[in-house]
Amino acid sequence: MSQNKITRRDLIKVFGASAVAATGLFGMSAKAYAKGANHVVIIGGGVGGSVCAKYLRFADADVKITMIEQNPEYITCLRSNDVMVGYHTLDELTFNYNTMREKYGINVMIDQVTGVDYDRKTVSTKNGEKVQYDRLVVSPGVDFRFQDYEGLSKELSDTKIPHAYKAGPQTLLLQKQLESIPQGGTAIICPPQNPFRCPPGPYERASLFAEWMQKHNPRGKVLICDPKDRFTKDGPFKKGWERLYGYGTDNSMIEWISGSQGGRVVGVDAKNMTIETDGDDHKGDLINIIPNQQAGKIAQIIGLTNHSGWCPIDRHTMESTLHKDVWVLGDSSIADAMPKSGYAAGSQAKVAAQAIADSLHGRSPGKAIYSNVCYSLAGENYGVSIAAIYEVRDGLIKPKGKSAGVSPITDKPAQPILEAVYQKNWQREFVKDVFS
């Protein structure tokens, strides 16, 4: 392909002449195919990138949108813990980009970005493409810091010590390892230091492992070695563990070693299946180290991160403070009080889509309002949740008023059961918002 990358002819190739001729695409005008149309390029087809593409189409019918994603299909991390214990299949969590292409007129390129030339406003890819942009969106998720642990590597995570914190082959590997734990054996889960993707993820995983063991390995144990002294929703999670897994008793199926109790993992001996912590060494039949994290690799390569390893952004727009006309969404961004969750990424993507449309049309962006809702399971029928609305206050993203809250701990047995039902509904509607 030559310089002006996505031509009308390319679009016809992708969508078929009739679709383009009739502009039968959802909310997309013929102007979007014109040579002079504004071009927004989105790097990353996860939740942030996909929601941004879709909502940018809502916000601007005339813009040309290209999304560059490495994989032809996306597997949601959301509910991937379920796969390990058989409540979902990986297939049910897998989405392709047909809707993006066919309904919203997004040009989806399956390719890997290798660099960005900010002066020429050009993205280069592994396949040798050079794609020009007017506005660039970067939503690359997280990168894992294997180097923080003696003896750990990416290669080891793919084979023996999976993190399973990006849904895919490692999810299935960890499932297999859970099933292979001998009777009375131990699963060790090592959550990362803050900040990290999906803050309740490791604790939900521990819960579902314990529930699975109740059925299949009743003398088995889940040991959580944590560098932290608190974790999200720890009140309702621990109450759930008490009720379901005997947490706090001698027979508890879950043991949690906090940071101040020496829970931080510093190294792993994969051969002897032992972890070294600030406290004791622990032997496990399954070792699930979820490494510390930083902004997705491409964000580091193209200079969007600061000393923290994450990407600073303008809180009202999600635009990078380091490079002009570049937006950073989701896990990679520094969004202060907002957790690194898919839901948060979607909310940020909507704000960014509007801000990008505003910037293309010379309008000044409004004040941002974000939201986050996360449901987790402490058991198949035991839900815990957290929710908040966020605003920008004193230059930081902070919960608005008294909007932030977690599941209350009550004596009503119906409450966690209902939250587990709501979790299913929430997940169904959320993925619909992203991929439908």
Partner: protein
């Protein structure tokens, strides 16, 4: 938390997980008149005060209203329902006889699974004790529908509704009260019977009567019963 319920909650996790996959309908034997009669006779005596406490504890009130009078079109009214019918429904949810397409019954299935027979008898006693409440719906006297209710329709072999559900729609034992029922819920229920999504009635005792009813009939019946006060308690 009540001890029994907590035990039930833990039991639920185990029982629920014994199900293959998720959301699959577990096998449940259909009732016969004999097994149903036997089961209902074996149910414990309900305690109204405990039932009221459970109505709050199990958060029934959040959908079905303070006294069981549904505050919205989404959920059934339970006030003034016969205790036999409420018990049967909760047993049916608990044992997955009432599953429909599961999505709608989902919440009730999950909640009923942590309720003991005593819990079920208690809430049933509580709802049976509450007054029915007519809905303020748009109903102008419709001789055709009132004839259907009182006399039936010989042309389509339809027995009068009142012959089982009572002259005031007050129900009788296992036949539910339908006076004061949420009209949208009434319509959904009739359609579910008609289309076979709902099949927990003994020997198709109700669904057979829905086959030849038109949508218009169903809507008119829903409005008729919604505004009916249900008679004296």
């Amino acid at each position: 938390m009540k001890k029994g319920l907590l035990a039930g909650l833990i039991g639920l996790t185990l029982a629920g997980s014994a199900m293959a996959g998720h959301g699959e309908k577990p096998h449940a034997e259909h009732w016969t008149n004999a097994t149903l009669t036997e089961k209902l006779a074996a149910m414990p005596e309900g305690n109204i005060a405990n039932g009221q406490a459970l109505h709050v504890q199990m958060m029934c009130n959040s959908c079905h209203g303070e006294q069981g009078e549904s505050p919205s079109r989404n959920y059934a009214s339970l006030n003034g329902q016969t205790k036999e019918y409420t018990m049967k429904m909760l047993l049916d949810y608990r044992d997955s006889r009432r599953w429909e397409d599961y999505k709608q019954a989902n919440i009730m299935v999950k909640l009923a699974r942590v309720m003991s027979d005593q819990d079920i008898a208690d809430v049933a006693a509580f709802y049976a004790e509450q007054d029915m409440k007519a809905w303020d719906v748009d109903y102008t006297k419709d001789a055709r529908i009132e004839r259907l209710v009182a006399k039936g329709n010989a042309n389509i072999m339809l027995t009068p509704c009142a012959s089982c559900h009572g002259v005031h729609g007050e129900g009788n034992g296992i036949t539910p009260a339908i006076a004061g029922q949420v009209p949208e819920y009434f319509v959904r229920t009739m359609k579910a019977y008609q289309e076979g999504h709902r099949n927990n009635d003994v020997h198709k005792g109700m669904s057979q009567f829905t086959h030849d009813l038109s949508d218009e009939d169903i809507k008119a019946l829903a409005n008729y019963y919604a505004q009916l006060p249900g008679g004296e308690k």
